[in-house]
């Protein structure tokens, strides 16, 4: 079998059509899994003994929170690669991810508030996990603002990389905050080894929704990446044809 030269896709001009072909492979399964996940979550999973039906917001809240953290780490990795290897496509990817990550973090905070009011009795509490997730949102906003206010694209890429890497320490803090501090937010129910403390169909629905959100993120990031590539490479000949 002939060797595939993967490095050819490090060029924005070559990755642009590949991204276009990949998008439906992520968008369509994402849509299907959303429908399946919400169906299982709302119609098959039983009513919770303690929380009644209010707990069902978990099917959006947990995937959103997880993706907010995960996307930040991925963004930081791409930004670091773009900085270290001078690979502008990697930096463009980091910029593309930032907005989706910010959206998911905001969604997790909002859905968390909506969940907190009926169950904890309050819209907000300054415990470790909520505070550090809020800091994560601010870090995303800082990243986006910094890149927006620098005109030179390469300097913007590198400055964003410095900020993203400095902020990545926050993600483990969010994750471990429920172990390190006595917080109102519940602890981990899913452990890597050992029996989870959540009922079967609820877990299934949550993992389906997680996969759906993840696939959705990939699709949406690729769409945004294509737009960024066209914008940054607008002076290249191939870009004029692609825009037409």
């Amino acid at each position: 079998m002939p060797k595939i030269n993967w490095y050819k896709y490090a060029s924005p001009a070559n990755f642009y059509p590949l991204a276009g072909k990949l998008i439906p492979w992520f968008a369509i399964p994402a849509a299907i899994l959303f429908v399946v996940g919400l169906y299982v979550g709302f119609f098959i999973a039983p009513t919770d003994f303690q929380q009644g039906d209010a707990y069902r917001i978990i099917f959006i809240h947990v995937p959103a929170a997880w993706l907010g953290m995960f996307l930040y780490v991925v963004m930081a990795i791409y930004a670091a690669i773009g900085w270290a290897f001078n690979a502008r496509l990697a930096s463009m990817m980091a910029s593309a991810i930032s907005i989706t990550g910010a959206m998911f973090t905001l969604l997790s905070l909002v859905t968390g508030s909506l969940w907190g009011k009926p169950t904890w009795g309050t819209w907000w509490v300054w415990d470790a996990r909520l505070t550090s997730t809020l800091i994560l949102l601010f870090l995303y906003i800082g990243f986006i603002s910094l890149q927006a206010s620098i005109d030179d694209p390469r300097r913007a890429d590198r400055a964003g990389a410095v900020l993203a890497i400095v902020g990545v320490i926050n993600v483990p803090i969010i994750y471990f905050s429920v172990y390190w501090w006595n917080t109102l937010h519940q602890g981990a129910t899913i452990r890597l080894l050992g029996k989870p403390s959540m009922e079967g169909s609820m877990m299934t629905a949550m993992f389906i929704m997680l996969a759906a959100c993840w696939l959705y993120s990939v699709a949406v990031v690729l769409v945004r990446l294509r737009r960024i590539i066209l914008e940054r490479e607008q002076n290249a000949a191939w870009a004029a044809e692609a825009r037409a």
Binding site: T131, I135, F138, L139, I141, G142, S145, L146, S149, I150, R155, R158, A159, A161, V162, L163, I165, V166, G167
Partner: protein
């Protein structure tokens, strides 16, 4: 080189001491606004004192960051400093030390006087000063990263605040937590130790991040 940078920055700060003093006056005025705005009820003031003094210290530290690199960037000195064979880490550390000596230390020493406005006890005033003495170098170090990233940008001070204030939040939490603990009589040492830990971490990592940011900004 390190000593030279510190002495040079201190000399420059002395020559432009109006700027330095204005940071201090800003701190003074902001803290004094709160008792004026909220009213003289002592119990209420005692509750809000740690947060208010600390937030004002945060804002004052952030404003002082403008002096750190901007002047040297504008007259080309910063570029020359980047070209020296000495490690940039030391240059940054020296500048931050000079900034802290000129802005942070007076702030920390002034804070007990301001704490009296809020009716705090002598022990609490001491804890307030110590927490600020430990916390302001962390603020200067973390702030230097933001200052280096935003060199010459049109966003100005607002952009630095968006970048730097989220990173300041842990220091704020532990700093005001220490003073709060002193008021309620619970564990002050825990919070102060955590600020100390942040200080050690930022002493090691922040100048390194700032050097990287400076190279990015100056190309």
């Amino acid at each position: 080189m390190f000593r030279w940078i510190v002495v040079r920055d201190l000399t420059l700060a002395w020559k432009g001491r109006v700027d330095v003093l204005s940071t201090l006056f800003f701190f003074l005025i902001v803290v004094s606004l709160f008792p004026l705005g909220i009213g003289p009820e002592t119990n209420l003031l005692r509750l809000i004192a740690p947060g208010v003094v600390w937030v004002a210290a945060l804002l004052a530290s952030m404003l002082s960051l403008g002096r750190l690199f901007a002047n040297d960037y504008q007259d080309g000195t910063l570029e020359q400093l980047l070209l020296t064979p000495q490690p940039l880490y030391l240059v940054v550390l020296g500048k931050v030390l000079a900034l802290w000596l000129v802005s942070g230390v007076p702030l920390a020493l002034l804070s007990p006087v301001l704490g009296i406005q809020f009716g705090l006890s002598r022990n609490t005033l001491f804890v307030l000063a110590v927490s600020l003495l430990l916390g302001t170098p962390v603020l200067a170090l973390i702030g230097s990263i933001g200052a280096a990233l935003t060199l010459g940008l049109r966003g100005g001070g607002l952009l630095v605040s968006i970048l730097v204030l989220p990173l300041y939040i842990p220091v704020l939490i532990f700093g005001s937590g220490a003073v709060d603990a002193s008021i309620t009589g619970s564990g002050v040492q825990g919070n102060l130790s955590l600020i100390g830990a942040l200080l050690v971490l930022s002493l090691v990592f922040a100048p390194w991040a700032t050097s990287a940011a400076l190279r990015v900004s100056l190309e």
